[in-house]
Symmetry: C2
Subunit: 370 residues, 2 copies
């Protein structure tokens, strides 16, 4: 009888002759974590032990090994899924996680995005074009400075104004004051313009702390939050998402490591699985070095049909500029959110002008990708 | 006026001619996260912007850059410390974090181990020798099978019997039943032997869930827990540690990645800083590939004087065997906990005998390192 398994593909950086043995060791490591001959229980061997499904030698000398991991070993806990996929073997430099597939039951258990692309369009009123996003920088600013930025960005018509991911509860700009002031200025600008800019504060700390932060933010009318799932833990992220089914979650890739988990898996599948409505990722040609294909795979995975989960908005970021908007729009199409941070702020006294230029460049109809 | 800074040393895998520029970019990335010319506030430039303190070209062509990060940017949140140390730059493959130093104020804020080495010795009664530890495997076992293992291990006199880190709340062996049964059998064996074996269940999920797990475990008399700080998030780990100042926390390295944060920093300093009383790490010569020097640095950092924090017990693990006990003991000395898991279980019907052999090998007085 076939098991209802999680499928995980690993790249093994070992010689092809060693690949089968290495894959079998990996199957033990990522399930029973003991020598096969020490397992005495037939049921564990049949139903819990990970299985090597297939090994494919690659042109570059590595091998791809597909393993089947028993859902039973995860128990519907997001942290435990990461643990079984890449907990111990993250410590082994010859292994990378390059793809995953989960059964529909597990996808439903984690639930994916609350709102997804359509929901974010409803919240912001942004239709038929990419969404725009910017960040409140730098940390060290006062609440008043950030609130001023909020007003400028909202007046310019930017769809989502998010805290920089460096914001926590720093003494100079405590969470409670920052959120109250930023949300108020955004709402005032919305009331004047008839638009629906969203402000997304950055969550910090633990599940308990984040529950309080969300409660507080909601009393001010906040409808979206920024969260770094690998800093707070994916279980915390997934729990909050389920506790607040009407809230939009924008996921930040901080602490995601470089390439040990292939970015299209981590930022394209896992973040969405656990509940990201929008996923920020380092676009090529900026301060980060992801190749073009990696970026496109991240975007594709976030939007692809997947067990009925809402698609999530890919958010190319990391050193983007207004000048690159037409290129990014052509590359990613309309179901995208463009995030420009520092490159707006560099305009200094011309910030409002440059923010409007960003909004207009994204909306320009003749540039919309086919 | 000198700032009360966090000091972080990064290895830059760029040409020596580029090192100064790269270090400056890194300082921006890990603090204000925007171009320098966009920062308009003098105070932010003076007090928040990370500074490049020193750059040292290395013989291997890389450079070591020491950066000073403002404590203000962390705000006493453990997740935020990880974020500022390695959040965004974890996504940049040319950077590794190779050392950190924190001011005494931050060390006091996080607090370090509750009990430390002396406290674990008091709890277990293990004096003048290394401690012994084993793990309940494999996942998929029933509660009765695990409870049987607990009795055997406790009767053999092993100091700490911990859940494998793959245990969460799997349907076949739910947390509540597992913990009740395992703790009961350990206590019965202790009552008969007069010894004080500790059972440490594995925590899973979020801060909220872990609070409940600890509460439940404590009603049964549990005095130690196993936690994977990089799976649950370091803020969750640090919060629980502070909420339960009499509980011992054994930290598991799962999801720690390979070498992007140097293991002596992650497993030698950061885990201890956030509250690990004992730190499990992959010893050389087992299933993992850390070099000898890395392992010794992990052990040294866990035990070195550091702002008055308790020292933590290094726990070399990952494919260790009874045969290697004399070697491991010579290498690590008495202030160590030896963890042998699968290599005990492989004895199958001779498990009790082999467990006693482990305990005796560790206690053998003529083998104690000078």
């Amino acid at each position: 009888m076939p098991r209802d398994d999680i499928s995980a593909v690993y790249r093994l950086n070992v010689s092809p002759a060693m690949a089968a043995h290495r894959a079998q060791m990996l199957a033990l490591e990522q399930s029973v974590e003991m020598p096969l001959e020490a397992v005495t229980d037939r049921r564990v061997l049949d139903e819990v032990l990970a299985r090597v499904d297939r090994i494919e030698p690659q042109a570059d000398g590595t091998s791809l090994a597909r393993l089947q991991l028993a859902c039973e070993s995860v128990g519907e806990d997001a942290g435990q899924l990461m643990n079984m996929l890449f907990g111990n073997c993250s410590l082994q430099p010859d292994v990378e996680l390059v793809d995953i597939e989960v059964p529909a039951s597990l996808a439903q258990a984690f639930g994916g995005p609350n709102l997804g692309i359509d929901g974010l369009r409803r919240l912001t009123g942004a239709v038929g074009r990419p969404l725009t996003c910017t960040a409140l920088k730098p940390i060290g600013s006062t609440v008043d400075q950030l609130a001023d930025l909020c007003r400028t960005f909202a007046q310019a018509g930017i769809d989502v104004v998010k805290d920089d991911h460096g914001w926590a509860n720093q003494a100079g700009s405590p969470f409670a004051e920052r959120v109250a002031a930023c949300q108020r200025l955004v709402q005032e600008a919305n009331a004047a313009s008839g638009r629906r800019t969203l402000y997304a504060p950055s969550l910090y700390g633990t599940h308990v702390q984040m529950q309080r932060q969300i409660e507080l933010a909601r009393t001010h009318g906040v409808g979206a939050v920024l969260i770094a799932p690998l800093v707070c833990g994916v279980a915390t992220f997934n729990a909050l998402k389920r506790e607040h089914p009407d809230l939009a979650f924008i996921a930040h890739p901080a602490f995601g490591g470089a390439a040990r988990i292939a970015p299209p898996v981590l930022l394209g599948k896992l973040f969405r699985l656990f509940g990201a409505d929008a996923v920020i990722f380092p676009n090529h040609g900026g301060r980060f070095t992801y190749p073009v294909q990696t970026c496109q795979d991240i975007a594709r995975n976030n939007r692809a049909p997947w067990h009925g989960l809402h698609p999530a908005l890919p958010v190319p970021a990391g050193g983007m500029s207004v000048e690159r908007v037409p290129e990014i729009r052509r590359e990613y199409g309309v179901d995208t959110m463009l995030l420009i941070g520092g490159s707006l702020l560099i305009a200094r006294e011309k910030l409002a002008e440059r923010s409007r230029a960003f909004v207009e460049a994204v909306a320009a109809p003749d540039e919309v990708a086919a």
